[in-house]
């Protein structure tokens, strides 16, 4: 397993959100984390990316225990999260956003090459490179956020609700973008309310209910019945 979450528990203050959650992600996989609001999906991503410390259990990445690593260290290892709500640097230009995404590549040729590659993959962004990211539409900002994450040349890209608050056209563009990312072999973990998006992209799915994994299976075996229970129970 490239990313191995073993019996993790986590929470905020006195509230326990995750209980003994285990998730395995193989290299090249795209894994969906499904479940209703408050099931603990975003919390799980925060534990994986290091924004929230685990209270129990371990997180392993490329065979190494990274449970104690800071968020910054994990980015350095190639474990990169695209946050919910996009969180682009609004006062900075699109290009500056991308350059910051590539901090772990250093300031040399490697990052410049990666930047050129991003502009080839996202021609839309090349035309906007000097605009302030805060002035873009939601869909455009989501592309900036994804491209910023990809700038780090991640081994695993964690996406938290990439379609949230976007128009249907923008959602389609995000799906196309992520299909492209998957085709380059980048491993992904996606937390998403939009089940359609998960079925188009992901091979495996984990269903969370009240902070516990209730179903772990391949996406094509995930039954409508189980999904209905996950979201409406």
């Amino acid at each position: 397993m490239l990313l191995d979450v073993r019996a993790v528990s986590a929470g905020y203050g006195k509230v326990a959100v995750l209980h003994d959650v285990s998730v395995g992600v193989a290299a090249g996989d795209c894994v969906a984390i499904l479940g209703s609001n408050n099931a603990g999906k975003s919390t799980l991503l925060r534990v994986i990316s290091g924004l929230l410390p685990a209270r129990g259990g371990r997180v392993h990445f490329e065979g190494e225990d990274i449970t104690a690593d800071s968020a910054g260290r994990r980015v350095g290892r190639g474990l990169v999260q695209v946050p919910e709500g996009r969180h682009v640097f609004g006062d900075l230009t699109v290009e500056e956003n991308l350059l910051l995404g590539g901090l772990r590549l250093g300031r040399g040729k490697l990052r410049r090459a990666r930047l050129a590659e991003m502009y080839d993959r996202f021609p839309l962004l090349r035309g906007m490179r000097l605009r302030l990211a805060g002035t873009l539409s939601g869909g455009e900002q989501q592309l900036v956020a994804i491209a910023r994450g990809l700038m780090a040349d991640p081994k695993v890209l964690l996406l938290d609700e990439p379609s949230l608050g976007l128009s249907p056209v923008a959602v389609d563009r995000v799906i196309d973008t992520l299909l492209g990312v998957r085709s380059t072999g980048t491993t992904m973990v996606i937390v998403e309310q939009n089940v359609q998006l998960c079925f188009e992209l992901c091979s495996r799915g984990y269903v969370l209910r009240q902070g516990r994994v209730t179903v772990a299976t391949s996406m094509d075996r995930l039954s409508a019945e189980e999904l209905k229970r996950a979201y409406f129970a």
Partner: protein, 288 residues
């Protein structure tokens, strides 16, 4: 002719105030805290230059080269020891601590140096230059030049270097900063180090331009705060505009208004800004 003199003097004062305030703006933008000890720390830097002159006979323009990094370390240590432990608390707690620090610095300076007004002479003291037909003290002109240089270097570093991008990114969105691998704590410490270090550069240079008294700190903290608010508190360009507006309004006010009413002009300007755009003040209260 009087108008030209007022404008030249106002621009010179404005640029100097802009550099003094730039450190406050940097600290405010990155860590969300108004440094009420800003003036007190500048006074400290000025008195260090005074001691360097008295004990080792070092010109303040030279001692500034040592005092700037020293004050940078002071700012860094201040952040690590005092600000960092309360960074998740209400920001008024940090403001209270800094205001208290300002009074402590004032008391220490008073104990050591007494209440007399002092200056530190440099090689340029007592000489004048003529700019656009207006005579200016050379020390003031030098302070203007150094301020211009300082603002340029700071502006270029913030805009074009990875260091500057890290600072601006942290100011814009702390969560996203963590997620691109920025060490937010280190960036905040940098902001304090540079913000206070600037005072170590500009303080000694001003030691023969502004008269030193131990109680000057709070006054200059307020002046810097006025510049920051008038400039919008967000960008270095805004801070420079704020400095120029305050400098010009004070100098022109003193020239054209009766008595010393001109000295009130910066505060009238502040009131006007707050009436026209009260959101400026609301943004300050909310922090960042």
């Amino acid at each position: 002719m009087l108008l030209v003199a007022g404008i030249v003097q106002g621009v010179v004062l404005g640029v100097i105030l802009a550099l003094v305030t730039s450190g406050m703006t940097l600290i405010y933008r990155v860590t969300g805290i108004i440094n009420f000890a800003h003036g007190g720390l500048m006074a400290l830097a000025m008195y260090l230059a005074y001691d360097a002159r008295r004990y080792w006979n070092v010109d303040p323009l030279v001692s500034a080269l040592a005092i700037a990094p020293l004050m940078g370390v002071v700012g860094w240590a201040l952040y690590q020891a005092v600000i960092r432990p309360v960074r998740r608390q209400h920001h008024l707690l940090a403001v209270q601590i800094l205001l208290g620090l300002s009074f402590v610095i004032e008391a220490l300076l008073l104990m050591r140096y007494g209440a007399d007004m002092r200056t530190v002479e440099s090689v340029f003291s007592g000489r004048f230059v003529t700019v656009l037909g207006v005579g200016i003290e050379l020390t003031r002109a030098v302070a203007f030049g150094i301020s211009l240089l300082g603002l340029t270097v700071l502006g270029v570093a913030l805009k074009w270097s990875d260091w500057g991008r890290r600072l601006r990114a942290t100011a814009a969105d702390e969560l996203a900063a963590y997620l691109v691998g920025i060490s937010v704590i280190r960036v905040e410490a940098w902001a304090w180090g540079i913000g206070v270090g600037i005072l170590g550069l500009v303080g000694p240079v001003l030691a023969d331009v502004f008269k030193m008294t131990p109680d000057m700190g709070l006054k200059y903290a307020i002046v810097a705060l006025v510049v920051l608010i008038i400039g919008g508190g967000r960008t270095m360009a805004g801070t420079i505009a704020g400095g120029l507006l305050v400098g010009l309004s004070e100098t022109l006010g003193l020239l054209y208004l009766p008595g010393s009413y001109g000295g009130l002009m910066p505060y009238a300007l502040l009131a006007a800004v707050l009436v026209i755009n009260p959101r400026a003040a609301i943004a300050m209260v909310r922090g960042r």
